[in-house]
């Protein structure tokens, strides 16, 4: 601690709530912020406040948005019958960056995890099922992570939505493009071999 003050302590503790920030980094950020010109620091806090107040979850796909519905859900040039399910907004962002996907999203904000008390209700899966039941959905692509919980969630969605008569698929997992097989770990390789395709 570089200065004994409850105000500074509150700032440090606020930074510590960010992912990957430990005590030392939090102290560094706080010190940095306090060394900035005041306008810059106020601008920083205003940006945070504005974003937090202005951004909500899209009522359709639960992605982060500043419009209702979000620009993706509102875009009629996109294929509204194709839904890609991701765990977090970052997943949708990564796929958007790829630029090739023309469908829409559904953000779960988590995965099924009984040990952490997260079930279908906590993820509000009914929203997704209702989207599918509403008709006009031809395919759902499940792009949850390859963790045990990500896989379990994918299978759960496949079973529930398969019963609704929609086609459900899982994204393929494999060797990164431009990467040699010798750099892939054993699990990735095993998956890549299982999901091989004919050429």
């Amino acid at each position: 601690m570089f200065i004994q003050s409850p105000i500074v302590e509150r700032l440090i503790e606020s930074f510590r709530r960010l992912p990957g920030v430990g005590r030392k980094s939090a102290e560094r950020y706080a010190l940095h912020l306090l060394s900035m010109p005041p306008e810059q620091a106020f601008d920083f806090s205003a940006a945070m406040r504005e974003a937090r107040e202005g951004i909500t979850w899209c009522p359709v796909c639960r992605n982060l948005t500043d419009t209702t519905p979000c620009v993706v859900c509102a875009d009629d040039r996109r294929d509204q019958s194709l839904i890609c399910v991701v765990e977090q907004p970052t997943g949708a962002m990564a796929i958007e960056k790829g630029g090739a996907y023309r469908g829409v999203y559904h953000v779960l904000h988590g995965v099924l995890n009984p040990l952490e008390g997260i079930g279908p209700d906590e993820l509000q899966l009914e929203l997704l099922f209702n989207r599918v039941k509403g008709g006009n959905i031809s395919e759902v692509i499940v792009a949850t992570n390859t963790t045990a919980e990500g896989e379990a969630t994918a299978l759960y969605l496949a079973r529930r939505m398969g019963a609704l008569g929609v086609q459900v698929s899982r994204i393929a997992h494999g060797v990164p493009m431009g990467g040699g097989v010798e750099y892939a770990d054993a699990m990735t390789l095993a998956h890549a071999l299982e999901g091989r395709s004919r050429i």
Partner: protein, 359 residues
Amino acid sequence: MMLHTLHCRRFRGLADTTFTPGPGVNIIYGANAQGKTSVLEAILYAATTRSHRTTTDAELARHEGHEFHIVANATRGNSPVTIEAHWWKGAKRFKVNSATQARLSDILGQLCVVFFAPEDITLVKGAASGRRLFLDMELSQLYPVYLRALQQYRHALRQRNELLRQHRDDTEMLAVWEAQLSEHGGVLMRMRAETITELSEIAADLYGRLVADEPLALTYQPDVGAPDAIAETLARARTTDLNRGNTGRGPHRDEMDIRIGDKSARAYGSQGQQKSVALVLKLAEVMLMQRHIGEYPVVLLDEAPAELDSNRAQRLFTVIPDAAQAIITTAQPIELLPLSRENATLFQIEGGCLEPGTH
């Protein structure tokens, strides 16, 4: 596999020390409670990330301190491997050749060891869980694929058990974890079956040559008949499982049956037979590892068996070939050890301090 040096800091009652074992047989002698077992425990911890005496790492820190460190320099094949184990304020960190290991499990197999302890007799006479642990440790050191499947199986089991504990009668939720139990459990079953067959052959040969001319046989008794049947078995057991609050069927209930002739060694073996069988199982583990990785594991023997009659013990230990490095502790006068001592490297331990010993 050879251990060149072992540095310990703040570990158990050991003085901060460097232990430099030689090739072949090493004998650490000293009175009880001087730290003999702690030396082997430190090696075991570096090799497997766990102790045989406790599951609470804090107990391994000297004087209930908040840290301990172990560094082991070894050779695996022709490559040097350095394993560092650091425990600091409850956090456990392992490095292999200076690279931090994200998963503790990646340590297993870097330095293969087989540990003999006086309580090994429970391997034969105790509960099935001891025999499963024996198999799991052996297979995990040999095959990363097995270890990975074991961890994923256990994880899925915890998830399914949590649903059962909450009495959540949700077929779809149970089914997704059953699918994972089936996938990973299938790997466990297939690899256990293969290994037990191989282990049985080796153990039967050793037992016949070294102990008695009686047929020793190990048989895999899986809880579920076949890997393909796991998912269906779990699905059928849902109601029962919801009532008992956990998963009653599956590879976590497997058994390895040990028979001498047509009798169960667990139920009908004499104390002497059970001890011999336990030793033979561990020796068979040593041989099996040599077959699969092309070199012997480091053999750690805590308390050279004083109670086995010395001829039999002598014969058992002549099986450990000169090529294997062995580290043996004893509280007896070393003259009484059933081992040839000419080429052994001796160490004396007193109050946690290791000193070169004298012949």
